[in-house]
Structures are given as C-alpha cells and as structure tokens.
Amino acid sequence: MKVGRTLLVGVPVLFLGYFFVYPVASILIEAATGEGGMDFLLTASTGRALWFTLWQAAVSTVLTLLVAFPLTWVVSNFDFAGRRTVMALVTVPFVLPSVVVASAFIALGLRDSVVAILVAHVFFNVSVVVRTVTTVWARLDRSPIDAARTLGASPWTAFRQVTLPLLSPSIAAASSIVFLLCFTSFGIVLLLGGLRLRTIEVEIYQRVTTYLDLPAAGALALVQLVGIVAVMTAYARLQERRTRKLHLRPEAQVLRVARGRERIWMWSIVTATTALTLVPPTVLIARSMRSGAAGWRFLADPGPLAVDPGAAIGNSLQSAAIAALIALAVGVPAAVVVARSAPGWGRWMDVVVMLPLGTSAVTIGLGFLVALDRPIDLRTAPIIVPIAHALVAIPFVVRAVLPTIRSIRTVLRDAAAVLGASPARVWREVDLPLMARAVGVAGGFAAAVSLGEFGATAFIVRPGTVTVPTLIYRLLGRPGAVTFSGAMAMSVILMVLVGGLVMSLDRLRAGELGSF
C-alpha cells in the first residue's frame, strides 16, 4: 500500500508540476524579466482589452441568466413527455466546440460585432444556468413555499421571498461559471470579434503570433490569472456565506403536471428555446450543403494548398483517445487522494488539480511554448497536443469521479476487510466496480473536451498535428466561398463527433442513476 499511495500522490503531482506549474511559472518569469513585458500593461491597447473583457463577460452573464430563466422555470417545476430530451438538447451547445459555434454564427452573417459575441456566449452558456439551477430547483422541498402561501403571500411574493433566496447559491454558482467562461472566451472572440474587438485571451494570442512578443504576452497572462483568481475567490466566499442545508427531495415528488394557462406557457417556452437552440446547427448543415454540397466536395478533394481533412480527423481522434487516457491516469488518482485524505492534505490536492480549470487554455498553450523546450524539447513532439488537452480535461475528470468516490461508504470497505479482503482486494472488489461507470463517463467527457479544444492547440499545433478545430480556423481564414463551405462541412463533422459522444455519455449516466 505504501507503493500505491506514493503513486496516487506522485503521478498527479509530477504531471501537473511539469506540465502546469512549471510552464505557468515560466510565463511569469518571462513577463517579469523579459524586455517591455510589464510596460506593455500600461499601454492603451491593454486597457481597452481589459475593459472589453470585463464588460462583455458581465453583459453576457446577465443576458444568459435572463434567457435561461424561462426554461429553467419549466424544467424545474413541470414533468412532461420529452423533458429529458429537452434537457439533453439544451446541453448540446455547451459541449459544442467554440470553433463550431463561431462558424455557425459566421454562417448566420453575424461577424465582426459585439452582438455576435454576446449572442454566441448566451447560446453557449444557457445550459450551464439551466443545469446548475435545475439540479436544486427541481428537487427543492415545496412545503416552505406552500407555508408562505397559506401565510398570505401571492405566488410572486412567495417566489421572491422563499424560492429565490433558497436558489441564490446555485444562481450565484452558475453566474460565476458563466462569467469565468466568457472572461476566458477565446475561439468565439477570435473568430467573431474581427480585428477591433479583443479580449485579453485574444490579445495574448495576437502578441505571440503576430509580434512574437513573449514578454508582453506573459504580462497579459499574468493579468488574466489575477482576474481569474479574483473571480474564483469571490465565488468561494459567496458560496461559503450563502450555503445553507437545503431540504432536497427526489424530482419525482416535486415535479407536477402543468394545467390550464401554465401548459400554454410551458409549451411556448419549450418550443421557443429548443427552436433557438437548433438554429445554429441547422444553419451550419444548410450552409455546408449550399451550391451542390460544395463544402463536402471540397473536403473530398481540397486541392494542393489545403491541409488534408482526413488527416485532421485522424489526428483529432487519436489525440482524443490519448488525452482521455492521460486525463484518467492523472485525474482518477488525484480524485482518490482528495476524497480519502485528511482535510488539510486533500484540500491542497483539490486546489492543485482545479487550477487548470481556472487557468485559460491560451495560458496553458503559451506556457508550453515558453517552457517546454527545456530540459528536452517537447514542443515539436506530437504527444504535446494530447498532453495539453489532458491538462484542460483533468479538472472535469476530477469533478466527475469525485462525488462517486466520496459516495462509497467506508463501512463497505470495512465489511469487505472483515470478510477477509486484503486492502488491494478491497480496492478491486469494492472501489473499482462502484467507480467504473463514473470513470467511463469522465473518460468520454475528456475525449469530448479534447475533440473541441482550440485555445491551447492554437499555440502548439504543427503541420503534422493539425486537429479538426485548428483546420476549421485555418479554412475560415482563407478567402473564397468554397473553402468557407468546407469549413462549414468540417464544423458539421466536429459537431456530430462531439454531440454523438456526449449524448451517449448522457444515456450512460442515466442508466447509472437508475440502477442504484
């Protein structure tokens, strides 16, 4: 067990140390010591980027809350045929790669404008709000609300005075996540913002690719990190202060069948939201089919100048498989350590594995570029792409398996031990079978993250390792209607790959909930 324990702690610490802490530290050193790094922060263009990053994130968050509210109300209160399907459908945009979403909005003609960015962010993040709030609202014990009604509160007053305060922690949680995602949004802003609109993320990318100014990029990454840490700290404080023990019940006991006017509202909201969700994917497909399926013909025969689409798909699938394996190999041991350790130790590991989530993908990519040429030059090794993807996916893996590991009661391990199972045997007979499904879901999710990853890949991709999202970006950057249609067709392929993977995972998870 000594050996096992060392591996459990050692693998995550070494991996994250070398591929995360070391690169990020190198960025900071580059920013502090490189020429003109810190001075760049005082320029007007940095100020503009910072201001735009902040306000677009804030506005996107508020808009997302407003758009998500009606559907959240519906799925948190009513049971109806197709409820699960609607939930799955609104989740699809969130798992769609940013490049795909951006392509869809370009196809809609929304390009080079603030509106395009805001609408794309809302489209992306509605499901975060719906899912996060619904898990609480749909299970919230209604008796306090009924009590308020009998005490003379109107439905609206009861909602404001009772329901809303009880939901506020989950609304705050959802808002923080959405804000963070929009704050670090890269693909959307790069593709939809044109030359004028830049977030810090995009500014970092431009500094590196256009000016090769690593000190300035490092200094911007530092600003970005400070901003993220500030948001996360505020969020943690908020959570701590606001967390109450809620009385939660099974959904089946809470949800009811809509009647009369409620029914009309319910179906209108469901129809409108699902229709809006389906617009961008439909446009993508339609655009790829235009003028005799020009996009698909282009993919079949891209000509001498383009990159091979088949190779990109192969690269993406291979990266996804390797990234999923790495993310599991690092994330599962880390989750076990977090779940099992004494509070102090466990929390330390928890913070370490969650850091990549708070860091932006662009920072990770930049860090690889700055740091990984020493001691051996990994920057040109093909494995670097799946490693970067794994780094982005690890926090998701930990979050996916941690609740399951925590839910395995110690008494089951004790029971197995008393019945004669050695510690290794207990692990094999109790922990492993009970974790298996969560690990499978986490691995699939890591693969989905890898398939759509763009921010980190953009920095480290080489001609031989072009993935589907980077290929789409390159095609969009070229003139001509035919390459544009090709980008649309490529986006459709990526959408089908990721969408199919996530939908089948969702089914797997439903089976798990049903069997325990």
Partner: protein, 233 residues
Amino acid sequence: MLTAENIHVAFGDTVALDGASVEVGDEIVAILGPSGCGKSTLLRVIAGLQRPDMGAVTFDGEDLTSVPAHLRRFGLMFQDYALFPHRNVGRNVAFGLEMQGLEREEISQRVSEVLELVGLAGWESRVIDGLSGGEAQRVALARTLAPRPRLVLLDEPLGSLDRMLRDRLVEEIREILTEASTPAIYVTHDHDEADRVSDRALIMRAGRIVASGTLDQIRTGANDPWIQEFLAI
C-alpha cells in the same frame, strides 16, 4: 476464547475507550450501554478495524493486536448492514467465501445453506436495492455467518427496525447463533433485547465495562445508582 484487555482509544481529545476489558468464551455476550459509551468502538477494535492506543486483543491465546482485520477470521455485522450495492444477495453472501479462495461449487452450496438458515432460501439472484429492512438484516447476518467465523460481532443489528420486527428477529438471531454454535458479542442499547439474545451481559459506561452477569444478577447485585437507573428505563 476472546480477550480484550485494558483497551484505550482516543479520537483527538475525546476518549472513546478508557481501559475496557472483555472476555468471551463459548457464549453469547451482550454489551449494553447508552449511545456514545464506546460500544461500537470496542467492536471495531476487536474486529481489527480500529487500532487501540493501548491494550491487547487475543483469541485462544494468540495475540491479534497487530493482525489486520482481513486476517482475523471474525465476522462483523454492521449497524446499517453495509451490503455491497453492486452485488446481488447471493454474491454478497459469497464474498467472504470468495476471499477464502473456495471452489465455485462449494461457495454456491454454502450460500444456499446459509440463506436457508436465515429464512431466505432461493433469494440468491435478488438485488440489494429492493430489500426491506428486515430482509437486508437477514442477508447481512447470512453474509457474516457464511465463512464460519471464529467469533461473531453484531453492532446494533436491529437498531433501524421497528419494534414488532425487532421482537421477532431477536429470537431468530439467538436461534441462528446457537445453531451455528459460534461465540458472539451483541452490542445494543436496549436491555430487553440484550436480555433475550444473550447468556450474559456487560454494562458499559464512558468507555469502561462497569458490570457483568445476567441482567437479573446485575439488577440485584449492583449498588451503583447509575446502573440501577439505566436498567430501570
């Protein structure tokens, strides 16, 4: 014969066991005490799940104090049964036999034998999820007895069941334990249950054993007012 001598266990500043000593021969002994007196901790020390800060556990003269739980060949029935949710009834009962490395046929024979003993003949393929409290309790008892442990430890085995069911099951447990002729320690906070299941009772208070004998003997013999009051409830 099991002896646990002068066992001390502290969790931080809380003293759970403060020099508890127990001897169990070929008999069923009840350990009776209010909640929080250290009964469950004592069972965990005997089972090997909790290392004592001080004191020794021996069985038939062999010192077990540093022997890990899975090598002690004791059976422990948990308060909330701790059935494995990913295995059906039969595979729960088979677990201890599998750990002994028995042949598949031997295992299935023993499983059906023990299930019959607890009145669940033929229940092998049922899932754990659908069992009622009383049924889960029987499966847990069968799982504990299947590997023929040298000593059975029962931690409030009827604690979560309603009164009527408890009255019926307490008699059954005594019969089953007698039939299996395994020495047993039965922990409870209910003196009626203790009286009916055991040959002898130990009264526990604040981490120590304060009285021993049949409950009648203790009632008449004790001049400690706390014991009198505890048994009078």
